[in-house]
């Protein structure tokens, strides 16, 4: 019956004049036409992908409750906790937009993967403690039926921080705070250090703090992969694209001090596809800025920082990309299996990598060094290492051979080197989860939960991160962290 009906409809199509056909009759290759007609019938019938309409499978959905800008570990952690803490299953549609699905420049994949509780702020310590318990029970949190269990390759070897005379007092008070919060850290004198780790040269070392439990390093890719897998099973949408525009609507309101203030609200996000001008406007209710080293760009798109300097409107997000190098070297007579991650107050650190006498380490430079945003060239900076006295001064490596090196960006908070968490006071539906200056990976589970609680409940429920809100940049109150690596 279809064969009889269709030629009627298509017959007119066959007879239309087209350039190239002779006037007065149609010379068709009948076989070609038949195969075309067969294809069209197949595409209309159910069970096969419909080729009649243009393919939009690469585009994000047109509406989404929450749009997470940035698919690194912080963005995925926020998305995970949003889905985990929502009241109804499927109650919230979350879209994660990531510009680069290979994560070639993302800080998560390029990081050394350490986790430690040796901070000076109680909030940082609590975040790390929670993250340690999250990683320990990762197969309960991120369980997906049928998927194999995750192996984070966690090395529970601990962190050893070395302090000189002038930093010893600060280290003692830090350790006191850490013990109060529940971290298992102990202080060691130079003699005890020499007994325990005979390969350390204790000249110039006045005090050391050693983390005994819940500290070490792990594989960040595994965490990222586990989060992605779990999110896909929970129904989160992923899109590869770049956020190019926020469409906002504003409202002028009067504060209690009789000042007019403009409150903005983002109601549409334009996501542009890779290598094309095609973009999709996504209507959204909440936007989460977890773009890492590029968060300031996203914030500027929303109009944060566009105003006279010194006012709340003119306060920019002070997060910048800072390049950090990591080197891997081989040293056959080096420290043994029990080596913790050793760091000293000059910013240099190293740790063991695997069983084959390989070590990896780096150094955070003390002075400000700004780097071009687009370059992440990998160079073996052996000369720089030797000249600037890179080696952590207390450990002597005999005949090291540099095997490889790479560089990654810290999302460096130039104000006080601590994260920015929570909503912006003027752009009311943009939430930040960025600026952690090198400890984003180890605090990601805790921060994700805090942001999700802020969105769903309106306030921080488990760990109070009010010292990390955006307001402090305007008010000038620094939440300084003394131990950064």
């Amino acid at each position: 019956m279809i064969r009889r009906v269709l030629p009627h409809g298509l017959g007119r199509g066959l007879l239309t004049r087209r350039p190239g056909t002779r006037r007065g009759g149609f010379s068709l290759d009948w076989d070609g036409k038949v195969s075309e007609i067969k294809k069209k019938i197949k595409s209309i019938l159910p069970g096969t992908p419909c080729d009649v309409l243009p393919d939009t499978s690469h585009l994000p959905p047109e509406h989404s409750d929450v749009v997470v800008v940035g698919g690194g570990v912080l963005g995925l952690s926020v998305a995970y906790w949003l889905k985990q803490l929502e009241n109804r299953r499927g109650g919230m549609r979350v879209l994660v937009v990531e510009r680069d699905h290979t994560y070639s420049q993302a800080s998560t994949g390029l990081s050394v993967g350490g986790i430690c509780q040796q901070f000076s702020l109680p909030e940082n310590i609590q975040l790390s403690l929670f993250s340690a318990s999250f990683l320990r029970n990762i197969n309960e949190y991120l369980a997906v039926t049928n998927a194999p269990p995750l192996d984070l390759q966690f090395n529970p070897s601990g962190y050893l921080l070395l302090a000189s005379e002038k930093d010893a007092a600060a280290m003692e008070s830090n350790v006191k705070v850490q013990k109060q919060e529940g971290a298992k850290v102990c202080l060691m004198s130079p003699d005890q250090l020499r007994n325990k780790f005979p390969w350390i040269n204790t000249e110039g070392v006045a005090l050391a703090s050693y983390g005994m439990e819940n500290e070490g390093w792990f594989d960040p890719w595994c965490l990222l992969h586990g989060l992605r897998q779990k999110l896909m099973s929970m129904g989160v949408f992923f899109c590869q694209g770049e956020v190019t525009r926020f469409v906002t609507s504003s409202q002028r309101m009067m504060t209690t001090d009789d000042e007019m203030v403009t409150l903005k609200s983002i109601h549409e996000v334009h996501v542009k596809m890779d290598h094309s001008l095609e973009y999709q406007p996504v209507e959204c209710a909440i936007v989460i800025n977890a773009a890492g080293a590029w968060s300031a760009q996203i914030a500027a798109l929303a109009g944060i920082g566009k105003g006279p300097p010194g006012t709340l409107q003119g306060t920019k997000l002070p997060v910048e990309p800072r390049k950090r190098y990591v080197y891997v070297w081989h040293c056959p007579q080096g420290p043994g299996l029990e080596t913790p991650l050793v760091a000293d107050t000059s910013g240099a650190y190293f740790r063991r990598e695997g069983l084959g006498s390989n070590y990896l380490g780096g150094r955070s430079p003390a002075e400000v060094s700004r780097v071009g945003w687009d370059m992440l060239a990998r160079r073996h900076r052996i000369i720089v290492m030797k000249e600037s006295g890179f080696w952590p001064g207390s450990v002597c490596f005999v005949h090291p051979q540099v095997q490889t090196a790479w560089a990654g960006y810290y999302d460096y908070n130039t104000f006080d080197q601590n994260g920015v968490v929570g909503p912006h006071p003027l752009v009311v539906n943009m939430y930040f989860a960025t600026g952690f200056s090198g400890h984003g990976l180890q605090q990601a589970p805790g921060v994700g939960r805090a942001v999700a609680e802020m969105i769903l409940e309106g306030s921080f429920q488990t760990i109070d991160l009010s010292p990390f809100l955006f307001n402090r940049f305007y008010l000038g109150e620094k939440t300084q962290e003394n131990n950064i690596m």
Partner: protein, 266 residues
Amino acid sequence: MWNGTRGIHRLGGAVVPEGNQKKERKMLQFLNNHFYDVEALRGYLLQREMSKVHLKNRSFTWLEEQHGPYSAGAFFILKQGGAVKFRDKEWIRPDKYGHFSPEFWNFREVPVEAVDASDCEINYEGLDNLLLLKELQSLSLQRCPHVDDWCLSRLYPLADSLQELSLAGCPRVSERGLACLHHLQNLRRLDISDLPAVSNPGLTQILVEEMLPNCQVVGVDWAEGLKLGPEEHEVPVFIPGCPWLKVTAPVTLRQPFPCPSSGLGR
């Protein structure tokens, strides 16, 4: 059918499936991928197994004030199915029904010397109870399915007294966890045989021996992993001063050197 699920949940791949279990697993996977209810049911069963393990490892530290730390810790071990030896007393073991004699409640001041927790489902939380036994000298965690690297990092409070530790057959212990045993400087005997998660057993044995110089590390032949050639009279060579020499090409000698470890390649 549900025996198959327990096999799937066991981690580390230490349990090799028989032919039957493999077919059941494939069938289960097929059903899981095509039906939401099967997926939900499997998820529920997985959660139930995990909560059973949590229940077994609940905290017994509240017993400490009434009966003392040693009895509280011993009660935890006996409840899990392990055995306990108090100083100058006999081993106390539960019978096949899980019952054990209540005489240990009277041993308030007597410390526990040895614990045999083989095949018990102790995990990280359960170690809270084990660490009450401050003067423990011998601990056996053989074939414990939930003891992993995190648990090993928790053993350092027993460093003063622990002399013997056995981790044979634990599917989740890897060389990264063995690295944190360096706190246990009084250890005299360490058994690390048959650890499937350790990537390079021979090299790990050597590194652990270096880390714990006063300890006898048992279990793995350091020659495991050395490639021997196809020749008949091949004997692994020990050259003093070069214990890391990897013999990849066949080496023939007229008189083989005496080998220090027993049972090497003869």
